[in-house]
Symmetry: C2
Subunit: 460 residues, 2 copies
């Protein structure tokens, strides 16, 4: 199918890929590590670099101060739909430095398993990914003299340090930041040849509980047999949270959890997810969750209840015959669909209380609450993106899930009322957050082409 | 009842109690801290002091070198029965020194809740207690010119530092150290007015298990729901170790556990043990062990299975959404009667293996094994001692249990084939192992009189 508006853009991208890489190298050379105050000026410099770059392709771009690192906000065009592209210019620290084969802020092209790779901190997460969108806009502008429609960009510099300024900034600038749909480029390909559009994210509810039995640690000779042991009580509580089929037993826990639509179920089946391989790489052989569910359901569309940490009594070398006074656990829930985190917290706490023997008490500590989200994929932008990606990559794109929580997607939804399409080109072996981070040149090149195709679909 | 042999001995003890205290003070001034090499010469000096003292009352006493601190062995007399008295001359360290109200090795008489107390490190544990027996012998010798029968003594200087030389020494000198019965003075009164003869000790079996699921810690977003969680598996194993009635479910666990004889049950009932008070002082209100058992049974005559430590995953401040690769627990069993520790270890490990899902493995680490012991109280020495003690104290003596393990009693049994009578006069508030250790003058005085009465009963 000939696409007179798109084809010259794709040709331009191919012809100028080396310029795009050289341009990305400039940004990668700025050591914008957000957690370390020593790099404060570098973060500022990365924001300035983006502002200048966006101005050069016709955006009204500004650096916006926060109490932490600055935001970059840019707008261009006026024909709909209005898309808001999000990325982050800050990067993870580089320790341990001695495990890097080349200096992390001196980007280089090296050889990888699927062709050349761009090696540098931030090459994948997220400078390389955010520049795929910027380069698509640059190519469009070069070819057509203007951008295809109403496009905004929003870059933060604190994503790797818990985004303390993000919610306040989004709240204060809600009107300016609201668009028809958000685009987020901070995720990966589903497979090397298969792009995915993340349309559902699991939320997260974190709880810590400490069970107290006797008022102090006791000698197990003197008190063993007669005294309550809070480590045993805690074990019993944890055991009671699941039934033998792997279902979570907390009352009303599954309220708001919906079954997959037949369309999505079919798409996921077609992905031929290699669950054996996925498990084998971490030494496992069998999906351990709810019986009767596929592995993809377990991680994308079903909620969980997991122990993230447990401790009590003597845990050092050797042996101490102590009956502990206290035992604690950190427990988290991944939430999906319309599950209400606050209702689940209450129900969990009530259940724990109901399991407590009379000589024990429990204290709870709250560790964060975020709801799951499911995008309204009947928004035509989703189907447009899916078609565009399927044209670019060897395999058709699918609406996939993400087992983790990507806070920015939740913020777009809860603060600005917008759905988000999470589309990214990273690979599992990119070593993000680790030494020798890289981004495939293929990801970068086809990523730019993918966004050009998506813009074409959205505005044609 | 007039006892012409005994009465003048008791009178002599009463008339010379101040000399006995002054004598004890000499021993207390020697800082024989066995764990600290800086006090090596002091430990040697304490042994020399005992040798000299025992020689002065007619014992053939010798200091015997070991690879650690020396033993003291002494023999006297030749008419039966042959009793072997054990004690230890070493003491605990004194840190934190600033919590002592007076220097720990400058003994003084102070005021206590039941009259004067002897304040010093070792006053109760065990110098004051061992000297009760020595002073009883001294008084007997002073009054009658000879000791009442065949008496040996055996003192070690490493009891507070795990007794590394004890088993080798007992094994090498088995013939010399074997007698008809062992006497051990390192325990306490049952109540302020009620002496107890410990005739049953619980053994101890220590196990550590580490359950491994995935080969590395996983992200709970990426793997939560599909991956095995070893902390949950461990909780399930721990929960399965007891049934709802508090009984331990390990196959054949109760083999060798006997019910109390009606005589002992009656004696224990008569003790009117204040189980509410015992539990209340540690913030508890209800015996938590096997249903249908008294609190004394739970701690003296019933075996236990307890979690002494548990750990896995992230246990620091805040939250980390990790699925741990491993979770571990230290679990110990208090054993009674004829329970076979090795058989129980095997049965425990088999049960754990049988509870393990296919994607988990478990590693065990052994942390010590000692069987429980029950003395053959039909040995007439037990009844003799019970009668003698009942004559001295306001309340009748009872054959009691001890929930803990006193290794020397086990060694007498397993190495030398002897039963032991554990008789002591310490009180719960003696602060042994702590700052401001004390021994009641009443304990010391009535302790000496108690041993005189016991010797009288044994040899009359």
């Amino acid at each position: 199918m000939s696409a007179p508006t798109l084809d010259p853009v794709l040709a331009h991208i191919d012809a100028h890929i080396e310029n795009a890489i050289a341009h990305l190298f400039e940004l990668l050379r700025i050591p914008s590590v957000s957690t370390d105050p020593a790099y404060k000026d570098d973060c500022d410099m990365a924001a300035d670099w983006l502002v200048q770059d966006l101005k050069s392709i016709g955006f009204d771009a500004t650096k916006r101060a926060t109490s932490g690192h600055p935001m970059v906000v840019a707008h261009a065009g006026d024909t709909g739909p209005h898309v808001m592209f999000y990325g982050h210019y800050d990067v993870q620290p580089v320790d341990p430095l001695d495990l890097w084969d080349s200096p992390p802020f001196e980007p280089s092209l090296e050889t990888g398993d699927l062709g050349p790779v761009i090696r540098a901190r931030g090459s994948s997460d997220d400078k390389g990914q955010l520049m795929t969108f910027v380069e698509a806009c640059r190519a469009w502008k070069s070819v057509h003299g203007t951008l295809p429609g109403k496009i905004s960009m929003f870059f933060e510099g604190e994503e790797e340090s818990s985004s303390p300024s993000l919610v306040p900034f989004m709240t204060e600038n809600a009107e300016e930041l609201t668009a028809d749909i958000a685009l987020i480029c901070d995720t990966g390909l589903f497979g090397n040849d298969t792009p995915g559009i993340v349309t559902r994210l699991r939320g997260l509810l974190g709880e810590e509980l400490t069970v107290t039995g006797p008022s102090k640690d006791l000698h197990s000779g003197m008190y063993g047999g007669v005294s309550m042991n809070p480590a045993r009580v805690l074990a019993k509580i944890i055991t009671a949270l699941h039934d033998d089929n792997g279902r979570i037993t907390i009352p009303n826990f599954y309220d708001g959890v919906r079954e997959l639509s037949p369309e999505i179920a079919t798409q996921w089946d077609r992905l031929n997810f290699d669950s054996d391989g996925f498990l084998a790489q971490v030494g496992l052989s069998k999906p351990a969750g709810e019986q009767g569910r596929t592995a993809l359901e377990m991680i994308w569309s079903r909620p969980t209840c997991e122990v993230n940490g447990i401790w009590g009594g003597y845990t050092g070398a050797g042996f101490k015959t102590v009956l502990p006074s206290q035992a604690s656990a950190k427990i988290s829930f991944r939430l999906v669909g319309q599950q209400d985190p606050n209702a689940i917290r209450e129900s969990f706490r009530s259940m724990v209380q109901s399991l407590l023997p009379s000589d024990c008490s429990v204290e709870f500590k709250e560790h964060g609450t975020s709801a799951g989200s499911e995008m309204a994929t009947d928004n035509p932008a989703f189907e447009a993106a899916r078609l565009a990606l399927s044209d670019e990559w060897p395999q058709a794109a699918a609406f996939v899930g993400c087992g983790g929580s990507i806070p920015i997607a939740g913020h777009f939804k809860t603060i600005l009322g917008m759905d988000a399409m999470l589309i990214g080109f990273a690979r599992d072996n990119d070593a993000i957050h680790s030494p020798n981070e890289k981004y495939d040149q293929r990801s970068f090149h086809k990523g730019i082409r993918s966004w050009a195709r998506i813009l074409h679909q959205l505005y044609s």
